[in-house]
């Protein structure tokens, strides 16, 4: 199960990396339109939340320490926040639908939050590796992991 935790979180990390690629695809698609960010939206609103849930499940089943489980929950929260930021940024437009400074500031937070989320997933990956490496050395017991952390 600890192996699965490493693998699933690794896939999540890859999805995050792809998500940045899809954001760039959206930004450089010509002509720009509502459809430019389709890949980015699907990945962000379906693939990443699903993988995050799977990661949480794996962490729990792998009897990861509470701190690590909490860390796996964080990306899910940040991704939901990410969707809200996008919605809010689009909400702060002027009457004819053009962007406003406030909307762009909120939109900028979308990038900041994305970077934070990736860092959290990287930390989870490190913790998952440590957990998997520890398997051989100590008995498979969550309490041990917890006191070590």
């Amino acid at each position: 199960m600890r192996k699965a935790f490493v693998i699933v979180n690794g896939v999540l990390l890859a999805a995050f990396a792809l998500q940045f690629v899809f954001a760039a695809v959206g930004a450089f698609t010509k002509p720009a339109g509502d459809g430019s960010y389709t890949l980015h939206s699907i990945t962000g609103m379906a693939v990443i939340p699903a993988l995050s849930l799977l990661t949480i499940l794996c962490a729990v089943l792998a009897r990861a320490p509470g701190r690590v489980v909490a860390l796996t929950v964080l990306p899910l929260g940040l991704v939901l926040l990410q969707v809200l930021i996008a919605v809010l940024a689009n909400a702060f437009t002027d009457a004819s639908g053009a962007s406003t400074p406030l909307g762009l500031i909120v939109g900028g937070l979308h990038a900041v939050n994305g970077i934070i989320a990736v860092h959290v997933v990287v930390s989870v990956q490190r913790a998952a590796h440590e957990l998997a490496d520890a398997t051989g050395a100590v008995p498979d017991d969550a309490r041990v992991g917890e006191s070590a952390a």
Partner: protein
């Protein structure tokens, strides 16, 4: 503060409150006392601030606050009752406070999710699922923090979680009371309108057209974007033959704003079958409304219209005098249409500019260099329009404004979103700072045609998770449901119908009822004071409440939808049908 910004501010505060409680709880769990107390205090402040925004929203209308009062408020109260004592007590070992702070975080988060994913109307299913989520997360937290309370409390928590989960899922999954629209197209009332006096043929097909100086792949009528302008005089009988050469998604013709008999309305699956490649359909109707209209495909309408399947329909009351210019604004593959045009107009020439917005979003139009009148909106003449100078107009998706002026000696220019589109000579007036015309207070009023209404419908526009389809989607909803699960509005011929349209969402929804023009009664509770406004496309902005009325005088099954066509595709379509 407008109700629209209040909705956004409330959402931001709710996010901060949820994040604050969760962050404070996490900090407490790892023993960071100061961080936990500071972040927890901030979360408490945010939670209490929501009392103010919720009351303000409830005052603007129950629709805006319902789930915040019924679901979020009790959850927030529980959060404060559990978490605040820990903040006040300031325990030496902050780890003891972790479960309480996290509980508050779960309560705030699930309340937030109810608003974002479900919205209006309040449902017992959503409330129970929210409670189940909070209880389940709290139970798991106890387990991981090793701070399990007494056996009795744990058992109660487990039972509450399970019961709420089962009941909530059952209620949420139960089939709603929304019978689908009978998607028949048997309206044998094809009117015998007589021998056509004007005949047109429109052939839909893919083609490469020039836009913004580039070759662009488009879907066209007769190889051009926009399609050919159809011009008629009141009393003409139009016959339009629609042929589909190679549009795989099918084509129809919807006469936007033209209140044709139902069988000619061009809504696939409702009034006719979409015209497949190689097939044709003949539309026939009498041109009895003068004014500016447009036609477009209603089959795969978002894609079809965006790709270029639209054109202008102008019906003159009598042979036109002076200069008559149509400006159908469109965005084709990122290029703005029409291309800028310059036209001479001798001083003293009467000019009528017919401004049409065929896009899915609002555009801003500004006429510089002359006073002008807005003589008609959505094809209907206005009463007593006063001359305007240095004033912009906002035209909703699908809407039309007719501007009239007498050409001065100096040049005149029309700007759309700051781009000169039509002019009589070079003009370099900045128009971006101009005030915007409010049509509800423009022109002179007239007595209401009716003093009563027979039926009233509320349409609450929002977003929500729609789980009824094959794949879950974050739909644009009306009264909490998405097409095809929105209950049809059933009316009887001759009734006066009132719509109350409420926008709870954070984006503008240009509302469009087929087959009828609606009379605007009020916006945000303030009655319209200007000329009677008979509209077929009007922007309901975030937080706005529009009251409109119409006489049910055109039997059939009519689409009633948001004309931001991606929104219509994503669920924001319902039907008005005659009993």
């Amino acid at each position: 503060m407008t109700t629209g910004s209040l909705l956004a501010v409330d959402l931001v505060i709710a996010v901060l409150a949820a994040a604050g409680w969760l962050g404070g709880g996490a900090a407490a769990a790892v023993g960071r006392r100061r961080v936990a107390l500071a972040v927890g205090a901030a979360a408490l402040a945010a939670t209490l601030a929501r009392v103010i925004t919720t009351i303000a929203l409830a005052r603007a209308g129950w629709w805006f606050a319902a789930e915040k009062v019924v679901i979020a408020a009790p959850l927030s109260l529980a959060a404060v009752l559990v978490a605040a004592p820990w903040l006040l007590r300031r325990p030496v070992d902050i780890r003891k406070a972790a479960a309480g702070l996290l509980f508050a975080g779960y309560a705030q988060t699930s309340a937030l999710l109810v608003t974002v994913l479900h919205g209006y109307p309040v449902s017992a299913g959503a409330a129970l699922l929210a409670v189940a989520g909070v209880a389940a997360a709290t139970t798991v937290t106890w387990r991981f923090l090793g701070s399990r309370p007494s056996r009795g409390v744990s058992r109660v928590a487990a039972v509450v979680t399970l019961a709420a989960l089962v009941a909530g899922t059952g209620l949420a999954a139960a089939p709603g009371d929304a019978p689908g629209v009978p998607h028949t197209h048997q309206h044998p009332d094809v009117p015998t309108v007589g021998e056509p006096t004007k005949r047109f043929t429109l052939t839909a097909g893919t083609a490469v057209v020039r836009a913004g100086g580039r070759d662009v792949a488009a879907w066209t009528f007769n190889g051009q974007v926009p399609g050919p302008q159809l011009t008629a005089t009141v009393g003409d009988i139009l016959e339009v033959t629609l042929r589909n050469r190679d549009i795989g998604r099918g084509v129809t013709l919807h006469w936007h704003g033209y209140d044709v008999p139902n069988s000619q309305d061009g809504v696939p699956g409702v009034t006719q079958a979409a015209v497949a490649p190689g097939q044709e359909f003949v539309y026939r109707f009498r041109a009895d409304q003068a004014g500016t209209y447009w036609y477009h495909t209603h089959s795969a309408s978002d894609l079809g219209v965006r790709m270029g399947l639209y054109g202008v329909l102008v019906v003159h009351p009598s042979p036109a005098a002076g200069l008559d210019v149509t400006v159908p604004v469109h965005t084709l593959a990122g290029h703005s249409l029409p291309a800028p045009a310059q036209q001479a107009a001798g001083a003293g020439t009467p000019v009528r500019l017919r401004l049409i917005n065929t896009d899915s979003t609002t555009h801003r139009y500004a006429l510089a260099g002359t006073p002008f009148q807005v003589v008609a909106i959505d094809g209907a003449d206005l009463r007593g329009p006063a001359p305007l100078t240095d004033t912009a107009v906002l035209i909703p998706a699908g809407g039309r404004y007719d501007l009239a002026f007498t050409a001065p000696a100096a040049p005149v220019a029309l700007f759309v979103d700051g781009r000169a589109v039509w002019s009589t000579g070079p003009v370099s007036t900045p128009t971006s700072g101009w005030p915007v015309l409010d049509p509800l207070s423009y022109g002179t009023p007239a007595p209401m045609p009716w003093s009563r209404h027979d039926q009233e419908f509320a349409l609450v526009l929002d977003r929500g998770l729609d789980l009824r389809g094959l794949l879950p989607r974050y739909a644009h909803t009306v009264n909490g449901a998405a097409d095809p699960d929105i209950a049809p509005q059933v009316v009887r011929r001759g009734e006066i119908i009132k719509f109350t349209i409420v926008n709870r969402s954070l984006v503008v929804h240009p509302w469009h009822l087929h087959g009828h023009h609606v009379l605007v009664l009020s916006r945000d509770g303030r009655p319209a004071t200007g000329s009677p406004l008979w509209m077929d496309s009007f922007d309901v902005r975030p937080g706005e409440v529009w009251e409109v009325a119409f006489r049910a005088d055109n039997p059939g099954v009519w689409a009633n939808h948001c004309h931001n066509l991606p929104h219509a595709d994503a669920g924001m379509t319902l039907h008005l049908m005659y009993a």
